[in-house]
Amino acid sequence: MIRNTFIKEITELARDGRVKIAFFIVLVLLGISTWISSRQYNSTNQQYAEAKNAERSIWNNQGEKNPHSAAHYGTYAFKPKYPLSLIDQGVDKYAGTSIFLEAHNRNEAQFSQAADQTGLARFGDLTPDFILLFIIPLLIVLLGYNAFTKEREMRTLVLIKSQGIAPWKLVLGKWTALFLPILVIMALVIVGAGIILSNLEDFGVFRWSNLGILFLVYICYYIVFVNLVLIVSSKSKKSSISLVLSLAIWIIACFVAPKAASNFAETKHPYPTRQEFAANILKDKQEGLDGHDPWNKQAKLLEQEVLREYNVDSLHQLPFNFDAYRMQKGEEHNAEVYFKHYKYLKSQFEGQTKVYVGLATLSPFLPTRFLSMGVANTDYSTHWDFSDAAEDYRIRMQAFLNNDFAKNSSHGDWSYKAEEATWKKLPAFEYSPPQLAEILSRNSSNIIVLVAWLLGSFSFLFITIKLR
């Protein structure tokens, strides 16, 4: 009986012109968006590789220099694009792509793509994630809104009942018929993306397991939508009402809830403005040791402490350059200040994340969006991770330069120049994004909410179903 229902539904769908057109449009859009994304992905990665190499050679070939001048000269950390950004671009457009690493200061990632685009960019981009997150649920609504209401309208429900079919069997048949086309589309997308990605030349490491998880996440999302649409259809009296109600669910889940959530999150856990943030950091920095200022109170204290420790009475008798030593201590103090302030920023971000998870109970879109971005390494957490790694590298770079300065010169010797070969000894900045297990554990609450949606909608569908 389940099989018969399934065959009947599928045949009906296949014969419906609207379904064919909708299917065709979705496939074309997916094709175009994937093609555009893969082009962008390629060019971005080429630019990344080029910029990274060029920057490294600029650093290596800066000539003889005082190490502290080199520290001010600085270098750049560039953020690479990861393979799965082909499917979900996530927040990449809004997060900066390069961080300037210099002495004394932690800089924010600069140059977000969105700031270089017209206001139109805010409507959204034609990317695969746009189709997967917004358009396919709409397709589900269009395919399934009349699953039950048409039986009611054509009076075939009485016939079906006379066959003595158990309600759950009927539901299962219809469910399978609605779900199968979506499964096929999704499988096509995933296999297509997998083939494109594994044929690309060594840009980042592409793993099928990540792609598989992405597949599961979207399938869960679609199942929730299939369930919701069928629930609405089974409860509505007329097809048109069922359609309008399902659409309302779609709008609320995909458009209203995320925007409202973003407003709640901002109100509850606001970020400081860039200027405030910088001013707070400056204030804390000034209270501590200033590496450049030997007359600074903390610097005097440090001087006395070091003199006592080495049991000498003048800085010139120290076995190292005290200027550089002080600079390094100042650097360490600054690093602490930055750590403190960025920790605050991060706690605000975590608070915001909680708001999103809380509101995810209202919309299956939210957990899916976050999981998808997470697995694709295009979410905000990955950006944080990158920026922390860059800061870590900056601290190590400063220590390397200051130690060279301290070791190879004596107090007051600002004319010391390190030879050119020194710069090559600084290891290059390498960053690898978080692995799948870490991503999943970080997103565990999103997984729980999505699974709750899945189970909740399933049980609601099968428990409350009645053939009236």
Binding site: S240, V256, P270
Partner: protein, 474 residues
């Protein structure tokens, strides 16, 4: 007959709860959006205010330091931050260059969540590194904001579709159309009456609610602004109603109508803007920012080498400066300021390319925006709110101009070796933001209205010439 139809429809709408639901829904959405938008504006005002207060405090501190220096007293600040040196004033006592919100800024978030609303340009900082983006969670930028523009551009059409997709088909499906067909009125005229009534009711409700929202939720009565928003919204509403009218006359049953209308919504609100954006990016791609960094680094390196040359020339011309000068920082600034200009000139073509591409994209968008009234409505609202791309570009240019003024004001003191004194405090330049003068947005709205009426008219004429009985039974 017309009067009866009107009254009958009106009573029906009232008794079916249509009016009540619509009013509550609109009121709820508009209020929530306005409160959100207003919160953002208040925070922006607050931020700017506290930045200005901070500058006032640091100015008081500067004046007291100057006073001590002028009276020959010892001061307890770091040597290079003492404001008797013009570079110290230029770098440590910057002014706030703020972009104050416009009276309608709460209507549309626009680009305001991307960019900062105040910066403090310093004398030594080069304009190029002035960062105009704001630190904000990119998730927020991705999701966007629940503002009035969102309600008007995205949700209002859907509400209109939900309430008007079945005005003819429902009558046919319930069988009452046959009764109506016996009346001395043509079907299309009757549909036109029904849809006009709904249009008028929606319009009146929107106007009333917008007025309520403007008067009660926002401080300062801005009736000119209210009027502008109403015109834009009215044109947009009319467009969707005329689409609904055409679809009702052309397409068959209720579900089909809903699907077609929804398809149009997806095309106008989601697809056309994103395809257009993609087109702009593909035709006029932004040069790579990462490669630009490389270029900038190379140019700066070159300029640094030349910087010594510049200084040599400079010192030859002005032997009174810097020779055997024990004050290192002053020597540094002489050299630095002299070469700064050269670096800037060198970098100009690189940065200009970005501006040019953005302008080209914008030109493309302006040409093709007529493909979707959603784009026009959103852009009009952004412009009214002072949150469009052009507004931020304008602000950026003004700030860079001000940074130049600030530098030019203090540089002569530096080169003339003149100290900064408290008597010169009053002459320090200050920044005043001049918003772009609002062009009339009426024309765009008027064109949308004419097009909408055109769509309605064509649909009416086709139905008029077609077979009426088809409308009744089909």
């Amino acid at each position: 007959m017309y009067r009866y139809n009107f009254l009958y429809e009106f009573k029906l709408l009232l008794r079916s709860g249509w009016m009540q639901i619509l009013s509550l829904l609109l009121l709820g959405l508009f209020c929530f959006a306005t409160i959100n938008g207003n919160q953002k504006v208040l925070k922006r005002k607050q931020d700017i205010h506290s930045a200005k207060v901070e500058v006032k405090e640091s100015d008081a501190n500067m004046l007291s330091l100057l006073d001590s220096v002028e009276n020959g007293m010892e001061v307890s600040a770091s040597r290079w931050t003492i404001p008797s040196s013009p570079t110290a004033v230029g770098n440590y006592y910057p002014r706030v260059a703020a972009m104050d919100p416009q009276p309608l800024s709460f209507v549309s978030t626009g680009q305001s969540d991307l960019f900062t609303h105040y910066v403090k340009p310093t004398m030594a900082g080069d304009d190029f590194t002035l960062n105009f983006t704001e630190i904000i969670s990119p998730v927020q930028q991705l999701f966007g904001s629940f503002d009035l523009a969102f309600v008007i551009v995205y949700l209002l059409p859907l509400i209109i579709i939900a309430f008007s997709y079945n005005i003819l088909s429902a009558e046919r499906e319930s069988g009452s159309l046959k009764l109506l067909a016996s009346q001395p009125i043509s079907i299309h005229t009757w549909v036109l009456q029904k849809i006009s009534l709904r249009f008028l009711l929606t319009l009146i409700l929107t106007v009333i609610i917008l007025t309520i929202v403007f008067v009660f939720l926002v401080s300062g009565n801005n009736f000119k602004g209210l009027f502008d928003v109403i015109i834009t919204t009215a044109a947009y509403i009319l467009f969707w109603f005329s689409l609904a009218f055409a679809v009702n006359l052309r397409v068959g049953d209720s579900s089909k109508n809903a699907i077609v209308l929804l398809g149009l919504w997806v095309v106008f609100v989601l697809l056309v803007p994103s395809v257009l954006n993609q087109l702009g990016n593909t035709l006029y791609p932004m040069p790579s920012r990462t490669l630009m960094i490389n270029k900038m680094r190379n140019l700066k390196e070159e300029a640094t080498e030349k910087q010594d040359e510049i200084l040599d020339n400079f010192l030859r011309d002005h032997p009174e400066y810097a020779l055997n000068d024990p004050n290192q920082s002053r020597q540094f600034y002489h050299r630095y300021m002299a070469s700064q200009k050269l670096v800037k000139e060198k970098l100009e073509p690189v940065t200009l390319e970005f501006e040019r591409q953005l302008e080209r994209q914008q030109a493309l968008v302006s040409k093709f925006r007529w493909l979707s009234p959603a784009i026009i409505a959103q852009e009009s609202l952004n412009i009214l709110s002072g949150t469009s791309t052009a507004d931020y570009e304008n602000y950026r240019k003004q700030v860079i101009g001000f940074a130049e003024t600030w530098r030019n004001h203090l540089t002569p003191l530096l080169y003339n070796n003149e100290p900064f004194t408290s008597s010169k405090y009053g002459e320090l330049p200050s920044f005043n933001y001049h918003p772009i003068r609002l062009k009339n947005n009426m024309i765009a709205s008027l064109i949308i209205m004419i097009v909408s009426i055109g769509i309605g008219f064509v649909a009416y004429m086709i139905a008029f010439k077609g077979n009426v009985s088809k409308l009744i039974i089909s």
